[in-house]
């Protein structure tokens, strides 16, 4: 399968590191507005050709799959051109700045018989996948509620809060936090389904170029409820996922490998917290070690991206169901749209 990338920056590197490890993929071309950035990526990853004009690349290389790994404001046009050139598209989140563009894109891909996959990488981390496995096996019970809270300092210099050059994500409704909404929404969606209503609180605690730096939401969804949040001030950095089932509860930090379950035990009820605590301590100690070791090897916190891409390419080769379907993408983006701020900043 011939694969090409548009955008050769930081996230492209994560895609490339994964793609070069997958069988049956030819890294055919890469495109970036900066010739040196494109050429350097081509040299580093042994990519067949590099371009600065994505249309020229699509025309000349005719890739089977295109990864769109540019800043979000350019995704729509690049993904649309790629679909029109007959390629399946893997697009970084957020797929498009607006829901209308997303629906246009999904419609165009459908008409062309191509697939559109948005990168919900954290959904494919080991922890959410293990929780899903237990839900599927019945041991977890039906999910009643899910909490997802990202605590991440995005106010430091050089990133979203760069005072010298405005970050492209700041043009999104909600600013930098909206860049993370697909993570929150995709996790809520997989555990409690499409949303019905959402109530949000957007606020700003610290002085910075960001329009907002705190976000909370309560979502009523088809199979349960979700509490979603983003905090730029709470430290240390963490990505908490808590899933509440009728028989079990799960807690994971997706920036680490920590995943604990609390459920029924074959002990007298008063002793349950004692044995649960012992077991949780053991699991957390083990997770501390695996979190340390994965700093030296493998994709680290991008393990979900590797899993998502592996499954996507397998499905494309087998012509089987994709891990992220067009229906998922539309439903997640509808939730994202409902989470965006709809009033002027405070």
């Amino acid at each position: 399968m011939r694969t090409a990338l548009i955008g050769a920056g930081q996230i492209a590197r994560q895609h490339l590191a994964c793609l070069e490890s997958l069988p049956g993929i030819e890294l055919a071309a890469i495109c970036d507005l900066s010739p040196a950035t494109a050429e350097a990526a081509a040299e580093r990853y042994g990519i067949g050709a590099w371009f600065t004009d994505h249309r020229a690349m699509l025309e000349k290389v005719r890739p089977d799959v295109v990864h769109v790994t540019t800043p979000p404001t350019s995704h729509f046009k690049l993904a649309l051109d790629s679909v029109d050139a007959g390629a399946h598209v893997v697009v970084e989140k957020p797929a498009t700045p607006t829901l209308a563009e997303l629906e246009t894109l999904v419609g165009r891909a459908h008409d062309a018989g191509r697939h559109l996959v948005e990168d919900y990488n954290y959904l494919f981390n080991r922890a959410p996948q293990e929780i899903l496995r237990r839900i599927e096996s019945g041991e977890f019970g039906a999910v009643t509620h899910v909490e997802v809270l990202i605590c991440l300092d995005i106010l430091g210099p050089g990133g979203f809060a760069d005072t010298n050059s405005p970050h492209p994500a700041l043009t999104l409704a909600g600013g930098a936090i909206t860049d993370f909404l697909p993570h929150l929404a995709s996790l809520a969606h997989v555990f409690v389904g499409p949303h019905r209503t959402a109530q949000t609180v957007w606020s700003k605690r610290k002085r910075s170029p960001l329009p907002y730096d705190e976000f909370r939401a309560v979502v009523d969804a088809e199979r349960g409820t979700a509490a979603l949040g983003f905090s730029a001030s709470s430290q240390p950095d963490a990505f908490w996922l808590r899933v509440y089932g009728e028989k079990m509860q799960a807690t994971a930090n997706l920036f680490e490998t920590r995943l604990t379950f609390d459920g029924p035990r074959n002990v007298p009820k008063p002793l349950r917290p004692f044995f649960s605590g012992l077991q949780e301590g053991k699991i957390v100690r083990r997770a501390a070690l695996t979190t340390l070791l994965r700093k030296f090897k493998g994709p680290g916190t991008y393990e979900g991206l590797w899993e998502l891409l592996a499954r996507t390419y397998r499905a494309l080769a087998d012509q089987s169901a994709l891990p992220v379907t067009a229906k998922d993408v539309v439903e997640v983006n509808r939730m994202v749209e409902a989470l965006k701020p709809h009033e002027q900043r405070p």
Partner: protein, 343 residues
């Protein structure tokens, strides 16, 4: 004569501005939009141009009336991609702008990091081997970015027939920059001194800046690539002692012979880290060598081409670095406000 200096408020840049002014050269100082210039004491004659090389659309305007570009700007912090975007893509945008104007003279600040230390034996000079593709990509982000910056600049110069001088400073030191990566590995206030007798390729920031100002005006510099070191360099142990004494630091210094340290690093790499994808720089043999390999350094080419000798001797450099703060410009008493050009 007017010089456009990028990265003008950086550690080297502010001294290059001083050195240019001292030679009577007009300066347009390019700084980032949010850069704070209080304390630099630049005179009103310094024309400040605010722009970010990554995104500014006004870069051609920065070259108006400029005879020589002194390109110092580079991103030295953040991840590898941020460094590449800021240093390399930023240079592409700057030189794209230069290609639209009349300026044809360019002095680039490159780095010793472009040399492949692993392949150098004995003396490192301008003829020493450079990194090659694909091995360069196994190096740290700073090295990749500086290597690419020089590559991009040479391509532009060749394509447009510009007069290019590439200056490659060794470790630049000075006030508040006394500690150098070549001094070993720091653990809190304690130091592992690897190869204590190894000499460090150093250049004091004011000496280094003087070379840039000289290269900007001296036609003999055109088309040349020159390393900048003040001399053969001080030994690591001595430099570290100066640093600790000067900065009032206390702590243990544990000397380790270089051969023993590199042997241990190679062993660790071969047995544990070879298959690892992310390894601390100090544990990767090629990066370890780039920081610490004992080589000889000299500035023969610089002396020969430009007749340069360091204006400050080592004792003066120590006094400037660790002694009481002396304003370089104290005697000039510039009081007038800066003129700023908003990009």
């Amino acid at each position: 004569m007017k010089a456009l200096v990028t990265g003008a408020n950086g550690f080297l840049g502010r001294h290059v501005v001083d050195a240019l002014l001292a030679r009577g050269i007009e300066v347009r100082a390019m700084v980032r939009p949010a850069a704070r210039l209080e304390g630099l004491g630049w005179p009103a004659s310094v024309d400040v141009f605010r722009a970010d090389l990554r995104t500014s659309r006004e870069l051609p305007r920065a070259f108006e009336g400029v005879d020589v570009l002194i390109h110092l700007a580079a991103v030295i912090s953040g991840g590898e991609d941020a460094q590449f975007a800021g240093t390399v893509a930023g240079t592409e945008r700057l030189l794209d702008a230069m290609a639209t104007v009349a300026c044809r003279r360019l002095v680039l600040c490159s780095s010793f990091s472009v040399y492949n230390y692993s392949a150098v034996r004995g003396t490192l000079d301008e003829d020493s081997p450079l990194h090659q593709v694909p091995d360069v990509y196994a190096r740290d982000g700073y090295t990749v970015a500086k290597w690419w910056q020089e590559r991009v600049t040479r391509r532009f110069a060749e394509q447009h027939g510009w007069d290019l001088t590439v200056l490659r400073p060794g470790f630049i030191w000075g006030r508040e920059h006394g500690y150098l990566a070549a001094m070993g590995q720091q653990f809190g206030q304690h130091h592992l001194v690897i190869g204590p007798l190894t000499r460090v390729p150093m250049t004091h920031v004011e000496n280094c800046a003087d070379v840039f100002a000289l290269a900007a005006v001296d036609p003999r510099a055109r088309g040349r690539t020159l390393n900048i070191v003040d001399g053969r360099g001080e030994r690591i142990w001595t430099s570290l002692s100066d640093y600790m004494r000067g900065s009032g630091q206390t702590g243990w210094r544990l000397p380790v012979p270089y051969w023993l340290a590199i042997m241990m690093v190679r062993l660790a790499y071969a047995t544990v880290f070879r298959t690892a994808t992310k390894v601390p720089s100090i544990l990767m043999p090629n990066r370890f060598e780039s920081r610490l390999k004992p080589l000889r350094f000299e500035n023969g080419r610089l002396r020969e081409v430009l007749g340069w000798t360091p204006p400050l001797d080592h004792q003066q450099c120590l006094a400037r670095t660790y002694g009481p703060a002396v304003s370089v410009r104290a005697e000039r008493l510039y009081q007038a406000p800066l003129i700023e050009t908003q990009a």
